[in-house]
Symmetry: C2
Subunit: 334 residues, 2 copies
DNA sequence: ACCTTGCCTGCAATCGCTTGCAAGAATGAC
DNA sequence: GTCATTCTTGCAAGCGATTGCAGGCAAGGT
């Protein structure tokens, strides 16, 4: 059907090795030979079969891209950037959706069966054992958005969620709020835990500030909305730190229903700075997570690992910053 | 490194064929043999290499999933559903991001090099030649969200955009608006053209209704917002049909800035019914596109094509319906 | 007891490509 | 013109699996 190496060799009247070599860069072929082969190849419309090639080179250039978070708008950017960055390195993303998968073991085996060269786990909610499972099979892995330190034996690229939590707290404190709430995402996510820890430790430095916290059932609009409505029954704080932007937009919606003005009555600080948060009808003040850098760095790290699989594991953490919009009152000089 | 067929055969003291056969269903192996092999395989932690297997079976179970639309929230659902549905059929999505690709030829060749079993092109903005390129190489292809009829030689699954345009027009007419605008996405997208055609042909049946139209520069919030602000300079219609939901949300935001109340002053009808449109602080009345059915059907069709590559091409179109929320005034009985 | 039938199993070829090795061609130095 | 070097090239052995074919064996019929 589609022409093979042999067809080209036959037509060009040379050996298959010659053909193979003109298609692998760095191999020694004379100009004359190369021209001959390229002509035959062009006439036949031949291009080498990666799959067959990978059998001997032991490189598929396939990278498993696994995630379990397909419903957060932030992942639009994540997928776009990952696929582009990988493509630019000549790598191909094999997408794995873990959403309804109970047994991660399956995915590990499956990716192994496809001989992926590496795996990037893009999730802050997957247990660290998951990433480790790949490492144990000697498959290079980087855990993007992962928690560092939990598993010092796999590469992690992301942010320091504890520091980010502290930053959020300081921001709210600087606005002079005297009663502050943490309204996080699901408690089992490591990112939630870390942001909470950072946030609380910072707030507790200010004994005059009333601190409260609770966790929504998911990182979703409805969960945020429901939680703030529930909280309203027993009285609200002056300001909240929402677990992430979509949660926060839900909170915003709930507050509107309650007749509360933001930021006049209540302040709100989000997290992630997804595109939508900048929309004029939302204008959420939020903490920016540098997705672009995180992903570029993840891919870069992956590429480096392909050359040196035994690379000593590292954590690459990028700083966040707050982007001011319209859901927090101005900074107070006391 | 990882154990191979041969290792298992050696350890079990049988031929490689025996091992191969116990791992391919439908092959004839005695129970005794199977037990022996399975034991050895388990001890070694063996599982067959798909890549090597594909060389002889000529089936990789890889499906190219190509799109150029990574920034529309609707695609969160699209990706989630596609990956799940494919996984459930034992297929693996190889993601291709066409966003910055000028030359589709590249992608075609690349997917061919990976010997994908099939390709699903998920886009309403890609030219039909693109899908055809795969067909010409004898790679099964289904164009999801494509325009039917343009290329009767490739399978298309989606909606009838012309009918949808008509539906939108009828809906606005039924609300008694006397001056109606079409505010579409980029004119080059076939979906825009078709919806426009349907919309206009229906409106023109009502000579008493003033009809106007324009096209935003992209299917994005900012483009919608900018366009409505521009239109406002020369006076607005009573109601608009927005090209899609994110565009419409931009329009909503622009109208708010203009001090217009929706639906009291101006009506707005969106398209797609993405999750966000149902959020209480948006509550966009819109036309629902049955994504779930479309994708399930696409995958089903793909699977069928794998069995019979010469299947006669068909177009599968699903009906839309309007979902009423809060951006259109009630139906008027004249 | 003999033959037929059908199930299992192993041999060996094959899928499309790469690569170590050795032989042949070309180049340059003398 | 000779010889040592450096380039090119082809041969053949894999990479990890599948599969047509034929032989071996046991069961069943007579």
């Amino acid at each position: 059907m589609t022409p093979t190496l042999k067809d080209v060799a036959l037509r060009a009247g040379v050996s298959t090795s010659a053909v193979s070599r003109t298609f692998t860069d760095g191999a020694s072929v004379s100009d004359k030979m190369r021209r001959k082969v390229e002509k035959a190849a062009a006439e036949l419309g031949y291009s080498p079969n990666f799959i067959a090639r990978s059998l001997t080179t032991r490189r598929t250039k396939l990278i498993g891209l696994v995630s379990n978070n397909f419903y957060n708008p932030i992942f639009l950017e994540v997928f776009d950037r990952f696929t582009r960055a990988l493509q630019d390195c000549g790598l191909r993303p094999l997408l794995v959706n873990l959403s309804n998968e109970t047994d991660p073991e399956n995915s590990v085996r499956m990716l192994q069966q496809y001989s992926v060269d590496g795996v990037v786990v893009a999730s802050s909610t997957l247990p660290p054992e998951f990433s480790k499972a790949f490492r144990d099979k000697n498959i290079p892995v980087v855990n993007t958005f992962g928690r560092h330190a939990t598993s010092p034996d796999v590469h992690v690229v992301g942010i320091d969620n504890i520091a980010a939590g502290r930053m959020a707290a300081r921001e709210l404190v600087s606005r002079g709020y005297k009663s502050i709430g943490f309204l996080g995402g699901p408690e089992r996510a490591t990112s939630t835990q870390d942001r909470f820890e950072g946030f609380r430790s910072e707030i507790e430095k200010h004994p005059d500030i009333a601190f409260s916290y609770s966790f929504a059932s998911a990182y979703s609009f409805q969960a945020g909305r429901a939680e703030i409505l529930r909280l309203a029954e027993q009285g609200l704080a002056e300001a909240y730190f929402g677990g992430d932007d979509v949660l926060s937009i839900g909170i915003l919606s709930g507050l509107k229903d309650l007749g509360k003005q933001v930021p006049q009555d209540i302040g709100l600080l989000g997290f992630n700075n997804m595109e939508m948060s900048g929309w004029e009808n939302i204008a959420l003040t939020t903490i920016h997570q540098p997705i672009a850098q995180i992903i570029a760095s993840s891919v870069e790290l992956m590429v480096a690992m392909l050359d040196d699989p035994d690379r000593y594991p590292e954590a690459r953490l990028f700083p966040c910053h707050v982007v001011e919009r319209k859901t927090l009152r101005p900074i107070q000089s006391r």
